[in-house]
């Protein structure tokens, strides 16, 4: 939530609520939040989907041989993700191109839209990133067993290590494998949350400092630039890790 309670602000200058922006609340009225209630989550996820639609579908409407600007960007995004998959997994991974493209676009546009003032940062919610990471983890694991059968376990059996070390490494690999979805989700959510909270804290300072607000406002501009970078990088990191996990499922041998 980005609209701070103004009454509290008025009474005390340093009454900063950097975390209020992450609150989920209903779009209409003030009732309870059921699973089906349209909330700010609904709104901003919908906007992210709309933005992706505008870029990829409306942008490529002309189907021109010589592309327009929006079509060029759509084609660059297409080529970027496709090349990423092809470089890491090889041709076999291209079957999962739509899935990975979906994840990339969703996270990218959610990150970018979250940078608008008064917006809601969908990808700073652990529930969202957790489900995304869990979906990747479960699908990749199931895919690994479906494609390779029981030999998928070889992923954890480091055959290049000395025999004595292999059980130990097996345990370590196993733990690291199961920690993947945790780091995968916290990395994205944490980065987004931290950045937005920092901007909010500086904004609170700016409200309290009067003419000295120049300093926190400059800091906000700098952090905002950084956050723009983070929005792209975290979308990229989430996607490339997904592709790397997919590669493990397709080619488990070390």
């Amino acid at each position: 939530m980005s609209v701070e309670s103004t009454t509290e602000e008025a009474t005390s200058g340093f009454n900063i609520h950097p975390m209020d922006q992450f609150e989920v609340h209903p779009l209409f009225g003030d009732g309870a939040i059921h699973w089906y209630t349209p909330t700010n989550v609904t709104l901003w996820m919908g906007l992210a989907v709309l933005a992706a639609f505008l870029l990829l579908v409306a942008g490529s409407r002309g189907r021109a041989i010589v592309p327009s600007r929006s079509q060029s960007v759509a084609e660059m995004t297409y080529g970027f993700v496709r090349k990423m998959i092809e470089d890491i997994t090889g041709k076999e991974g291209l079957k999962y191109f739509p899935h990975i493209m979906t994840a990339f676009l969703f996270i990218l546009f959610a990150n970018l839209l979250a940078l608008l003032p008064y917006s809601f940062s969908v990808t700073s919610q652990i529930a969202v990133t957790g489900i995304l990471a869990a979906t990747v983890f479960i699908s990749v694991t199931v895919l690994g067993f479906v494609i390779n059968g029981p030999s998928f376990i070889k992923l954890f059996w480091v055959s290049s290590a000395p025999m004595a070390l292999r059980p130990v490494l097996f345990l370590i690999e196993m733990i690291s494998y199961f920690v993947r979805p945790v780091s995968h989700s916290i990395r994205l959510g944490g980065n987004l949350m931290a950045g937005h909270a920092v901007v909010k804290v500086f904004a609170g300072f700016a409200g309290a400092l009067g003419i000295g607000a120049v300093i926190p406002i400059t800091a906000i501009v700098a952090v905002y630039g950084l956050e723009l970078l983070v929005a792209f990088i975290q979308a990229y990191v989430f996607t490339i890790l997904t592709v790397v996990y997919l590669k493990d499922a397709l080619h488990p041998a070390h």
Partner: protein
């Protein structure tokens, strides 16, 4: 409502992290699934096939253009070769025609020269005959003149012995000798 109470309790007790307010999780997860499914269908059914086909079309167009350019280049080379061949043929033909013309002219000239030579020879022969005639007639005249002169001389000196015929014979014999 238990849900509402939980939410309010969470907001009241833990202002730290709204992300850990589990009462909103079902809502977030539901809408996440809806958004992702919608986006997945947009991406897989419309966006990727369309962009993929556009890129494919472009590659085909470029490949076609390059192929066509190569075709044109090949045709241009063929045309150049044909032009060169035609040029060489024309040149050789021109040389042949020139040769024939030269031979014809030479034959004409030779014929004319031969004709002229023949005429010249005929004229020369005629002239020679005329010269001989003139010589012969002038020789006869000389004989007569010499005979008459000798007779006259003898008649003046010794009129008694003047014998026309004998004098003439003597002069003729002398001239012959």
């Amino acid at each position: 409502m238990a849900n509402q109470d939980a939410a309010q309790a969470a907001e009241a007790s833990a202002p730290g992290m709204p992300q850990l307010d589990f009462s909103t999780f079902p809502n977030q997860i539901f809408w996440l699934v809806v958004s992702i499914v919608v986006l997945y269908f947009i991406v897989s059914k419309v966006a990727l096939p369309r962009i993929g086909s556009v890129i494919q079309d472009r590659q085909n167009a470029v490949a076609n253009d390059i192929e066509q350019a190569a075709e044109f280049k090949r045709k241009a080379e063929e045309a150049e070769a044909a032009y060169n061949a035609a040029l060489a043929e024309a040149r050789s033909q021109a040389m042949a025609i020139a040769g024939v013309a030269k031979a014809e002219i030479k034959a004409d000239v030779d014929a004319e020269i031969a004709k002229a030579d023949a005429e010249i020879a005929a004229k020369a022969a005629e002239s020679a005959v005329r010269i001989d005639e003139i010589r012969a007639s002038s020789l006869k005249s000389i004989k007569e003149v010499a005979g008459v002169a000798a007779n006259d001389i003898i008649a003046k000196i010794m009129p008694s012995t003047a014998d026309d015929k004998a004098t003439k014979a003597a002069v003729a014999a002398r001239l012959k000798g």
